[in-house]
Symmetry: C2
Subunit: 229 residues, 2 copies
DNA sequence: TAAATGAAATGTGTCGACAATTTTAACTTG
DNA sequence: CAAGTTAAAATTGTCGACACATTTCATTTA
């Protein structure tokens, strides 16, 4: 599988296709963070005209993967510590609210689906001690589902359509394999319980804590690493 | 003055200029909400080529003023009640967090500036009973300033660069002239006090209440209007 | 040698034309 | 007359070329 974002619609035009390819290359770091983008070069590499490439670049800019300056050109965004922390702050606000809305708006069937998913994740974790799996795909699956279940188009677009591209980029480039997997699973369970109880306030609070915990974990690692320098 | 968004950078290219013109036309309703956009027609009206127009359309899509479907075309976004409420929910989350960050990150000078601005607003209000002014420009000024003072690029871009175009559009098209002006001023004062005290938690809570109050005010009006039908 | 100037080279912005798709309209058929 | 089919018109997507701005680099000058 190539894409994990559930809001990503299937590519119909060539600009769509190239957008996905470049997006993947940026997220994975094949096109390095902070590097300048040469339109003629990329157009040649992907065998398309510059117009089509520029269409793709516009979409990359929309999900904050590149930045453009008039008459100067495009750069892949820098992956900085500050940027990462700002991203987590923003996620805390948006996903917290999405979680509250999910608690208020989810259908009973959607809740049942989610419980099933979490149960499956739990078994996977027990059986294979699937730490690596859970923190990658499982965590994303859970968060995506909560956001979609907020049934708020504005929130869904902002988070899934924009923020999460950056989230995945940072995960790849900073190689985040923290040992928070089992704790994250427990936190997910708590959140789902609050949603099941239709307790929007608690659901938001738990989701915010969940994300804040990740952020603090990162901050701690940074601090430790700074001691070694 | 034409533009109020402080993050909007001066137009250097023709696409920039046309973007601003169309943006203005959409926000003001000169190009009606929900209407289809004809590329050839608009290109002719603004005396530019379709490529340049499409560049402008891409930016309009970035701030959620139009929606595009592949091989079909662009439409101006619909102004619906649901959309408006979703927008306020999102604002509550984002601006609440921005306000918390502002309380934590603002410099003392920025706080002094803000106090001066609010004091000026208060006098204007007293002197001219400037209800109309305050709810339009003054309210926007205050919110913009808080957001910018969060010093969080992610938040600033999401709110000022995207959400607030929609906010202004809804304000224009739904003709929001609610009698919340003096209450809003008081709420702003409370928020600034919390910021001055560096109380991030309270600042966020007050900002969320402030925005939620606007939302509930709208919901009430809708309900009243529905009784007349 | 370092700073300033100017020209060449590279890169971005804009244009008009063609290709591919969708929409419209006319026409056939039941 | 309604529904389905087909052809024409209109619209969007893509392309290559040119105009303009920026960057690079060689040359001049203090």
């Amino acid at each position: 599988m190539y894409l994990t974002n559930p809001t990503q619609q299937t590519a119909v035009t060539t600009a769509d296709r190239v957008f996905e390819q470049i997006q993947h290359a940026i997220v994975e770091g094949d096109i390095p963070s902070g590097s300048k983008i040469s339109e003629p070069e990329l157009a040649k590499r992907y065998q398309i005209s510059r117009s089509t490439l520029r269409e793709a670049l516009n979409r990359l800019e929309k999900c904050h993967l590149i930045e453009r300056k008039a008459n100067v050109g495009s750069r892949v965004v820098d992956c900085t510590i500050e940027g990462l922390l700002e991203l987590y702050i923003t996620r805390e606000a948006l996903e917290g609210m999405a979680c509250r809305q999910a608690a208020l708006n989810m259908s009973d069937m959607e809740i049942a689906d989610m419980q099933a998913m979490l149960k499956a994740h739990g078994q996977t974790q027990e059986l294979k001690d699937g730490v690596a799996y859970y923190q990658e795909q499982g965590d994303l699956d859970f968060h995506y589902k909560v956001i979609l279940c907020s049934h708020n188009k504005q929130l869904i677009d902002l988070i899934c359509g924009q923020l999460y591209h950056l989230v995945r980029m940072y995960r790849c480039q900073f190689g985040m394999n923290s040992p928070r997997a089992s704790r994250a699973f427990n936190e997910h369970s708590q959140i789902l319980q609050a949603i099941t109880d239709r307790d929007g306030e608690l659901a938001e609070m738990l989701m915010r804590r969940h994300i804040a915990a990740s952020r603090k974990n990162i901050e701690k690692k940074i601090a430790e690493q700074n001691l070694l320098d």
